[in-house]
Symmetry: C2
């Protein structure tokens, strides 16, 4: 298809915009200067500048709000498929891989949240399980609220890398794995979310860790059982050598 050119003026200009953002320590939501201002600073044509902005929009670094201007995107440059899972084509095994990873770091994350959450964060985490419970009671979808609960805990950990990682994992989950709703699963969620939220709220690190671990392990077991019932091959990689 198209021929590769050396770094084009457009690419160079997009790098200049990134350097501008970083050197001004701009944050997501901040508004970029106008096109006119950039044109007085950078020696480029209006066409090149516009193409450069489009590239950064494609990379989720900038967003254009109609009539308002150009802003640093809240997506912070994180793409739609940040883990590159579009190219993994066996959903079921992927769901288990994902839960294995979550088991590795969410219990520790809950511990950190129990220690580091602010009063406001504790309050929000404490309220979340009731909302999810009432969605379940009304038979409404709750996957998004469920994700937000785990995301709140990640953010309350005080570790910014965890917040970003959780965002990446959950956006990959919702893109790549279809989550089956099921009464047994609903009960697990309601019971353990309450336990986790209470432990974090009370600063109880041991309970926070182990309720999160149990919650995720039961979820993993649930996925394995479903797969076996459907005759799908589960993760047998943990056999002895």
């Amino acid at each position: 298809m198209a021929e590769k050119k050396n770094p084009t003026r457009v690419e160079k200009t997009s790098e200049e915009i990134i350097r501008f953002i970083i050197s001004n320590k701009m944050l997501p939501g901040n508004q970029l200067p106008t096109e006119e201002e950039f044109l007085t600073w950078f020696e480029v044509s209006r066409g090149t500048l516009r193409e450069a902005v489009k590239l950064l929009v494609a990379r989720n670094i900038l967003e254009i709000r109609q009539g308002a201007g150009t802003f640093i995107s809240h997506k912070k440059g994180i793409p739609e498929d940040p883990l590159g899972l579009n190219f993994i084509y066996d959903d079921h095994r992927l769901a288990l891989d994902m839960l294995e990873v979550r088991l590795m770091f969410e219990p520790h994350t809950a511990e950190l949240a129990a220690v580091n959450a602010t009063a406001q964060q504790r309050k929000e985490i404490a309220e979340s399980p009731r909302n999810i419970e009432s969605l379940i009671r009304r038979g409404e979808p709750y996957a998004d609220a469920d994700c937000r609960f785990h995301q709140m805990i990640a953010e309350a950990s005080g570790n910014r890398v965890i917040g970003q990682l959780m965002y990446i994992l959950h956006s990959s989950v919702s893109k790549n794995i279809e989550i089956t709703l099921d009464t047994l699963r609903d009960k697990n969620t309601v019971f353990y979310h309450h336990k986790i939220a209470r432990a974090i709220n009370e600063g109880n690190v041991i309970s926070a860790h182990w309720f999160m671990a149990t919650h995720l392990n039961l979820l993993r077991e649930f996925v394995i059982d479903k797969m076996e019932a459907d005759g799908l091959e589960t993760n047998k990689r943990h056999s002895p050598l």
Copy 2:
């Protein structure tokens, strides 16, 4: 700056290309059909098709090799700054956040590698520490070889999400955190890399877990000591409530 239009023909065409890739289960390194072929399938102009390809190159989903054609990128759509850390401006605390995360999942990853690595992977992991040791002896930079060692272990875990996550963490580390070289640090690396590699090679899950944990914990301690010596505020968030 530029006005936002509704999803343009270029954006729609880039989504069509992604659907084409996914429905054909294409993998990184695979070559895309020619421009001519796409033009017979999609009802778009050559200009629109080229712009769509450029967008996907900007998103690291495609790459153009001069004279050879267009390929699925090995970057799998993962951007240069996948964690969006460009917008975090305090390097030192970020280094600690990163090590905290690595402590959460690399010891478990080493366990899985001890169980799941193929014969070929065990061989490569076993050879790696000697290479790093000789780089250190010759006073040469070894950060890349160090990353590759951890990446090999992640891939040997058999969990594909871990492989991608490690890739993301390490590319963020090298982009965002300047790693100080130091004799004490070198000794830690040489000693523990040998221990970890041997444990994985022999399928010893307990040793694999705990040598990895010790390796990373000493590294974390090293960073804290450095920060305190430089008068920087370290991570005091783990104090009682």
